[in-house]
Symmetry: C2
Subunit: 153 residues, 2 copies
């Protein structure tokens, strides 16, 4: 009976060495681009787009295609989670050690500022929804939107 929504956010950050170790263990190479991308993700507390990651990288560390490919890999390995806010671009956030990464955000519709949210959709209700409809392995995507304090003119 694993808990789906246990997120004592913010998750304790994993050491970079643990991250690279994880890669090495799955016989993936620790390349310059990957190390740099992990640094960026590790340094940022909120979901970043591929382009934002590229910009944050030391000047021309790698190609945008490499950022995309790296994040696919990290996602497949469960080291990052993918999020979608209101714009078209996917965003990625490092999954904390131990944490399964499931959590939600509150996004300002004006300035796009992000707040990490600890609350989750109530487990009992989700179970009821699954049971009622005969679905298995039900999860959810949930994001909040509103106007942040600064943007309330």
């Amino acid at each position: 009976m694993k808990k789906i929504c246990a997120h004592p956010h913010p998750p304790r950050r994993e050491k970079i060495s643990d991250l690279t170790g994880r890669l090495r263990r799955e016989s993936r190479k620790i390349t310059g681009p990957r190390a740099a991308i992990l640094e960026i993700l590790h340094a940022h507390p909120h979901p970043l787009t591929n382009r934002e990651i590229l910009s944050a990288l030391p000047k021309s560390s790698c190609d945008l295609a490499t950022v995309y490919r790296s994040l696919h890999l990290l996602e497949k390995m469960g080291m990052v989670k993918r999020y979608h806010f209101h714009d078209g671009a996917a965003r990625f956030e490092l999954v904390g050690a131990g944490d399964n990464g499931h959590h939600h955000h509150l996004v300002c519709v004006n300035c796009a500022g992000v707040v990490e949210i600890a609350e989750c959709f109530p487990e009992e209700i989700e179970k009821k929804i699954a049971r009622t409809n005969g679905f298995k392995n039900v999860t959810h995507k949930l994001e909040f939107f509103g106007t942040c304090p600064k943007c309330q003119a």
Copy 2:
């Protein structure tokens, strides 16, 4: 004090004439493409992509660009709501009469089948999240994903 999440789903369907009337009232023209698109939306109980709407339309009723433009218009007029499931494409569903349209879905990750969900994120928790972070006008996007009965091999 307007209720955000009052959805006695499924909403009573509006008559097509009411829909076109709404358009006429805002001095928009009832064109062939628009009438056809409204028919399709009216006939379908779940969110459809622009391309799905086009395909469902009587052969070459209109151009894909027109479908996009029509749905933008309908969205701006509050007659359809936009949803995002796991694929890249936006989906649209007609908003029922009276209903503000806010509701959620349970989507099969295997066959993409959709179930309309009446449950919503608890209002009190959302209010707490808004208050705690000083945000105003907080809403949410919430979709459930799982394996439907048919797809449980």
